[in-house]
């Protein structure tokens, strides 16, 4: 079905803003949930229940002076956070959150851009996003930042491999790289969380590492590297890095919902297409909660343990999963 250009434009604006709002309130939710889990309240001063906290944070970051180390490489130092934030925001455009609707005679698709190779696009953009972290840490001319960006680089590159291989099973089962097609395939059969359980586990673990969340939060291990690659960043430039991390997390959760948890589909709601986004958001929130829960509970891995885990455990399991899936699909 043909999508009008202005529909895409409006949709892009709406989605990007929704993602931003989710990011803002994810930071609040994280602080609140972590607070409750740690026998404290979390932010509760700004507005009722601290609901204005993200806005206050944003204003604070915007008002801060954008200083930089004298030895920093100017344009790379500025480019780093922008690249990271740009790629993070772009990725969400291909994730479907509904089946598509006919509103007033105009067709509105379930995602901003329905691309046949959406899955590959996500990984490709994610790889570009890594540059944002590397050049940011490298160009700020600080030893801690350099160490942090080295770690980030090594970690993201290693886990990208497992991450990509873990979704291979899904691709084989759905026989498509298009996310819409994958969701439709799941609604016809079962959610891939069942048959692709191994894939889901590998995907979540590699994804946690990919978004540098605990227990894989080595790139910015505060206790070791102060703040990792963004040690020398302040103000909104730091805000952009922080934003890109959280949005990567949201995108990753959205991707797991799409690939393994049936996307916008929910039991018993098949006919009601308007409920699609709600189901999608509900599943997304549960996953995000799990990420926050993990952060409060687990200690951090060490660098060599992280590498060993990625290459020696996750990668073989992901490959095995893909091979077994391929054999089963061909045989059946």
């Amino acid at each position: 079905m043909q999508v009008e250009w202005y529909v895409s434009l409006i949709q892009a604006l709406v989605v990007i803003n929704l993602v931003m709002v989710t990011f803002a309130y994810l930071t609040l939710a994280e602080r609140k949930i972590m607070g409750r889990m740690q026998l404290r309240y979390g932010p509760n001063r700004a507005g009722p229940y601290g609901l204005l906290q993200p806005i206050a944070d944003l204003l604070k970051l915007l008002n801060k002076e954008s200083f930089q180390p004298t030895a920093a490489i100017d344009w790379l130092y500025v480019l780093g956070p922008f690249l990271a934030a740009f790629t993070a925001l772009t990725t969400f455009s291909v994730i479907p959150f509904g089946p598509g609707w006919e509103i007033g005679g105009v067709y509105v698709p379930g995602q901003v851009a329905d691309i046949d190779i959406a899955l590959i696009l996500i990984f490709a953009i994610g790889s570009i996003g890594i540059y944002g972290f590397i050049i940011g840490g490298w160009s700020s001319d600080s030893k801690y930042a350099l160490l942090g960006s080295m770690r980030t680089c090594a970690q993201l590159v290693s886990y990208e491999v497992s991450l990509a291989l873990s979704v291979l099973g899904v691709v084989i089962m759905a026989k498509s790289l298009s996310l819409t097609a994958i969701v439709e395939a799941q609604s016809d059969t079962v959610w891939y969380a069942g048959p692709q359980f191994v894939g889901l586990v590998v995907f979540s673990l590699a994804g946690t590492a990919e978004t540098a969340r605990a227990p894989f939060d080595l790139p910015e291990a505060e206790q070791e590297l102060v703040a990792g690659y963004h040690t020398e960043y302040g103000g909104m430039r730091f805000g952009l890095y922080s934003m890109s991390e959280y949005i990567n997390l949201i995108t990753l959760s959205g991707l797991s919902v799409t690939l393994f948890l049936g996307g916008w589909h929910g039991p018993g709601w098949e006919g009601a297409t308007w409920a699609g986004p709600l189901w999608f958001i509900a599943k997304l929130l549960i996953l995000l909660f799990l990420f926050i829960w993990m952060r409060t509970t687990l200690p951090r891995l060490r660098y060599d343990q992280l590498m060993r885990f990625g290459w020696k455990i996750l990668l073989p399991v992901a490959i095995l999963n893909a091979i077994v899936t391929a054999i089963v699909v061909v045989a059946v």
Partner: protein, 422 residues
């Protein structure tokens, strides 16, 4: 001194060879141009105060390290020499601000030894209960911060929640939460409040459960075990050569606890075990701390039972040359008024002599060396700081480790910089 059979110790001579306290980069193992020298501290999120480590990194590996201390030097010892004996007591808890009661007790015990004053038994048992509560407090702070450094952030709040209950008990007895100055020469500053033992018993009920929960959170966590087992090894030999004491020594397999080996207060009258672990890694240090918390609760319980029996007994010695007379006597007795005036203005005098007293603080052997010239002020005060000794082991324990381990290991040494720098 008994040593576990699985650990080796010097035979024949007891004089160990010197162990270097600085780790130099070995040019045969690392290419010098690959070395990145970073400043770890004094302002760094995980240096336990203001410890500065100059670290030579080869990639992520620690190739060389030197610890620089002195950023928190406050001159407490010198300051104490210019105050009268009873006024200088307030400085002692601020030396090691986490084990505040232990240091206060140490200093007062040293003065009492010089004075040769008899302390009533109720005061002794109250001091012991407080000392053990303080040990739990210190271990909780250690547990919270060390776990935080390995990334288990929540444990920090759980530990500090329990710590708060201990501080409540201190507040009940002494009026302030830390640095209580509850210990007075000759006994206590005040009698224990009436429901102190009741409240303390409540804490004794909840604390072992909390320790179980901490262990459940950490001991069953594969990441925690991976991060702590076999990391930061310190042999019994090296531990002795580096003058380690306390949990550092006991986690290296040496059974040495001043409470057992050189009993002070009434430690020979209470039942408790000294936990000893053989491997000398971060995990064993963690286990020693956890077990000691349980043992401390055991001791506190026994103290509370005895304190209940002694209810109503005097809590301070009746030596009018040293101890302030009871307030009500001031209105009726002229001698009391004179004594009160003398003690408050000039301070009591302490006979000429020198003394060294050592107690088992939460961090190990805390010693106090006092010299008196017979006046109302100490002539020389010197503390033997267990944190300082622990930091000597930095270079030995971090050999060949990664920078992430460095953080975990430095935390496991349990240094309090106020104690190390004084």
């Amino acid at each position: 001194m008994t040593v576990l059979p699985s650990t080796r110790i010097y035979e024949g001579t007891r004089i160990p060879h010197p162990v270097p306290t600085i780790l130099e980069v070995d040019p045969t193992e690392h290419r010098l141009e690959d070395i990145l020298r970073i400043n770890f501290g004094p302002n760094h999120p995980s240096t336990h105060g203001v410890l500065r480590l100059i670290v030579d990194l080869d990639g992520e590996t620690v190739a060389g390290i030197r610890a620089v201390i002195g950023y928190l030097h406050t001159g407490f010892e010198k300051n104490m020499e210019s105050k009268s004996w009873w006024k200088s007591i307030t400085y002692a808890p601020r030396v090691d601000y986490v084990a505040f009661h232990a240091n206060e007790l140490l200093y007062v015990l040293a003065i009492e030894k010089l004075l040769g004053i008899e302390v009533p038994r109720r005061a002794t048992w109250a001091r012991m209960a407080m000392a053990e509560l303080n040990r739990i407090h210190s271990h909780l702070v250690w547990l919270g911060t060390s776990a935080l450094e390995i990334g288990a952030i929540s444990l920090f709040w759980y530990a500090f929640d329990d710590r708060d209950e201990i501080l409540d008990l201190f507040e009940m007895a002494g009026g302030t939460r830390m640095h209580t100055r509850y210990v007075q020469v000759g006994g206590l500053a005040e009698d224990l409040p009436p429901n102190f033992t009741k409240e303390a018993r409540k804490f004794c009920e909840s604390m072992p459960k909390s320790v179980d929960q901490y262990e459940a959170l950490l001991d069953r966590n594969a990441i925690w075990l991976e991060r702590t087992k076999g990391i930061g090894l310190l042999s019994a030999d090296d531990a002795l050569a580096l003058a380690q004491s306390g949990p550092m020594l006991r986690s290296s397999g040496v059974n040495w606890d001043l409470r057992k080996n050189m009993p002070y207060l009434a430690y020979d009258e209470v039942e408790f075990d000294v936990p000893v672990y053989p491997n000398g890694d971060v995990y064993d240090r963690y286990k020693v701390h956890m077990d000691e918390m349980r043992e401390s609760v055991r001791i506190v319980r026994q103290c509370l039972d005895r304190l209940d029996e002694m209810d109503g007994e005097p809590w301070i010695a009746d030596d009018r040359k040293v101890v302030l007379p009871p307030r009500h006597e001031l209105h009726t007795s002229m001698e009391s008024l004179i004594h009160h005036f003398k003690i408050v203005t000039e301070g009591f005098t302490v006979p000429e002599g020198e003394v060294y007293v050592a107690i088992e603080s939460p961090r190990g052997e805390a010693g106090c060396y006092l010299v008196s010239d017979g006046s109302a002020r100490p002539w020389r005060v010197r503390f033997r700081a267990p944190s300082f000794a622990a930091l000597q082991a930095t270079a030995t324990v971090v050999q060949g480790l990664l920078i992430a381990d460095l953080v975990a290991v430095a935390g496991s040494l349990d240094p309090v910089m106020g104690d190390a720098d004084r």
